[in-house]
Chain length 148, copies 2
DNA sequence: TTTCATTAGTTTCCTAGTCAACCAATGGCA
DNA sequence: TGCCATTGGTTGACTAGGAAACTAATGAAA
């Protein structure tokens, strides 16, 4: 048979990743937060006061997306937008008190979700997986905006 | 510092997966195919003549999404929709000749993309990664539609 | 044999992204 | 000093997908 194409890691990576994210989004629903919003909140949590453009680079999203995402988070009063006074083009996004308070709770949900999907792995396996992912990120310098 | 939340595998999995998929989608662009379309074509390649609902289950998408995706692929003349004559509710999707011809070319692109992101891994590492992903799929029975 | 529940797919509305055009503010540089 | 290129961010048109309402065909039960 000519059938039965080669196994593609990328395929399964996406498949698993989609499921993991989906399960996580269900958990986040209870807190009225989306996965994308969580990622932003998490990023702001350590290293508060971040420029939208930097965020876009780090998270691999476009500036437009960050702009709208920020709007939503502001509407929920989880972050604030403040314009720099030296250069009024620039802004920084930072957590509100409510936002800062929320993050650990969301992090606990992420812990639970991780446990659900990766908890059965032996510590060495987990470590190996983490290392592989980190390596790929490093080797490809996956910090820059992926859309070119 | 209260900062520096725990490392979440799910986070990095999504991050890497998004980049891998994005890089792949750029390669597919040359053939005027999206990643989602590729996944359908690939599925139809071995085991032709598949019901949309089955496809939805297998790929973790809704029936609505498959319905529209099928429309697009039909417009591109890569697949066909044929109604079963015993039960006229049911249909099967199958590759056209052009579709069948295209798949191996796309598969080669997937090979290249895989090599780019995972090629540096030692065979044992690749195998371990593959096994972990397959295990997760199996343990969670990730065949059923993820949205519940 | 009519009616009703069930099943397979489609369609409509909505959300969250991208892309590209846009608007301001700034910083050269003539 | 005034113009223009650059930079930071926003906006509008468009796309893919999810949820839920819908349509059509079937099958079972009265």
């Amino acid at each position: 048979m000519a059938s039965d194409l080669e196994f593609h890691l990328g395929y399964w990576l996406r498949f698993v990743s989609n499921h993991v994210s989906h399960a996580f989004s269900l958990k986040l629903q209870a807190r009225d937060v989306t996965v994308a919003e969580w990622v932003v909140l998490r990023d702001l949590f350590d290293g508060d006061g971040v420029a939208p453009s930097l965020l876009a680079d780090r998270l691999g999203m476009t500036r437009g997306a960050i702009s709208k995402l920020a709007d939503r988070l502001i509407a929920k009063e989880l972050i604030e937008r403040t314009a720099a006074m030296e250069d009024r083009r620039q802004q920084t996004l930072s957590l509100t008190a409510a936002g800062r308070k929320l993050v650990p709770a969301l992090s606990a949900l992420a812990d639970r979700n991780d446990a659900e999907f990766f908890g059965h792995l032996k510590p060495a396996e987990r470590a190996a997986l983490e290392k592989m992912l980190r390596d790929i990120v490093r080797r490809h310098d996956l910090k820059t905006i992926p859309t070119e």
